[in-house]
Amino acid sequence: MNAHGQHAVMIAGTGLSCALGDTPADAVDQLADGVDPVQVPMGTDGEHQCPLMAWRQHCPGQADGESESERLNRMIDNAVAQAIAPLRDQGIDLSDTAILVGSTSKDIGVTEAAYRADLAAGRLDAPPRYDSRHAGVLLSQLGYGTLASRIANRFRLDGLHWTFNTACASSANAMLYATRLIQAGVIRRALVVGIEFGNLLSLEGFSSLMLISPTTMRPFDRDRDGVVLGEGTGAMLLGRADELDPAPGYEGMRLLGGSTRGDSSSVTTSSQPGIRAVMCEALANAGLAPGDIGAIKVHGTSTPANDLVEGRALREVFGAGLPPFTTLKSAVGHTLGACGPIETILFFESLRRGWIPATSGFRKLDEDIGIAPLDRDLADPGGAIMLNFFGFGGSNTTLLVSREGVR
């Protein structure tokens, strides 16, 4: 327990299914080799294709004959199975494990596919429906807790479950509240799962807001012009440090919690004061000072407005002592509500190997921001880690992680 009588929280397992690979190790192998930023594919005429095509170029592959629901379930099952394997292999009973899911679009992509099939078959007035062959639940596309219930049933996890819907901070908030619930002794273990599955509604929505890059992601770069969407699932099994063995390489790592704050200044763009406030509150909650932070994973969406305010807020909080920072969105795509565990796992897996990945796609300093992310991999500088996640609806979340024995 810490000085506040809270249980220490650690990571017992991780799992991943994303554009970079279907395990954390495979994905970080890709990062280690250096990855180009995700980009809208080129057509044969040498011109970039429609940006709405980009997402599908960066999805985990679809097996022959596999339906959309099968692909979604495979993606989720793969990540969750990896995350719980270390404890299951030790024979630990996980039946009381809580589940905290974060997602923005849930399984809308599956419903869209089923609806397209209805339309193709001439059922023009059919309601959007779920592919019930696999989930057994009709029309569950918009039932927010469906994915958590399915994970509970599939893996026989009968603990409590919550689904967080706070836009691109959804699964980061799932991580934050899993940590708080374990710290307070309300639950002993939590499976945190971030899920985002490609769908036309999200693509069209982001496109309507002119947030999709017509070319490629260049976070914090002077020429940045938007996001390229990604999909994937990240899963983390969290538990009490006095009860479980940490995942290999995660020894000494402790989730400290952090802060989540709404920012009602704009529904689409977090404000500089809002981002500054959430970082400061997270530091205060964790009992850390800016100087304790060794590295930062920024949100870094590659949109002109968001990178500007995040960069300026970082300068305000850290001043001349700004630690090295990077973003992973340009490597894996913006996985929206799933980016909490996905980016955290990619970042931590890199740290396990002793380095912090560069920001793929960054080339030129933006003088208006005045700071630059890592443009090449950096040896782990030690210290605590700050993780930023921001979303529509003024959802700002900062998480903090300490590392004992790493200075």
Partner: protein, 293 residues
Amino acid sequence: MRPVYVHASGSYGTRVTEAPADLKAALREQTGHHIRRTNRFIDLALLGGHRCVQDRDLPSSTGIYLATGQGDAASSAEMVRRSHRDGITPMPFEFINVSSNAAGFTLAQSLGLDHVNLMISRRRWSFEMSLQLAMLDLAASQCEMVLLGAVDECAMPLAWHRERLGLAVETAVGEGSHWFLLSREPAHALAEIHPPVFLKDRAALERLLAEHGKSVSHSSTGWNLAQEADGDNDLPGQQLDYLEQAGYYDTNVGAGLDRFLELAAPGDRWLHVEAEYGSGEQAQYAVLEVVRA
């Protein structure tokens, strides 16, 4: 966790038998403003939230915790249908309105709040689960006060709505937005809410009822439990049936709490029990306990 205290409540709730009411006029009357470009789910949240807050000055560290089963199902379904059937892409504000927590954002903006703002969902128990997180944050002083809402919308047509929810065709459906202002401060409170209790099986529920049943003045079953043949057997006290009046929606427990606050005398104690089904199809139970001040 310790109990928290209800300092205000406000609601909108109705059975729905035909096209649901346009809420803009009621919202304008409540807030004095014409809220533009919001969808009905957001309007529902705003209407209930403002009826709860009225003209109170809330501390800046007031968090918003919005519990829902279906969220913005109506708007999302319509956008999917229009996009795929008609090739009509969403307008920017339409997409923003279905972006996760737009309802909580709009409520926060209208109340001038910049603090915790969460939307928590699951089919049943989303109110109980959100209450648990709110209590956690109140106990840790992350929030001085909490606006806890239970919001679900009735999507049209009703036949599709019932099918989506897996309800029989004759099931009465409704919609509602029930909000409760909570703090750790007992002075001048309307009621005390105990931390929700989650039980693994019927035997655990019966043990709890045996221990606490005598002090209970009113009890209610949630929708799932009411469907069981012996669902309300053994529940102590006077039965407080809110389901008939509210109709089905995932968060109609909010209507039950409203009804208890309205009917109860000081010292009355209400027990609400709702079932959910775990991986083995075995029912689990959430128990909510509220004492009228």
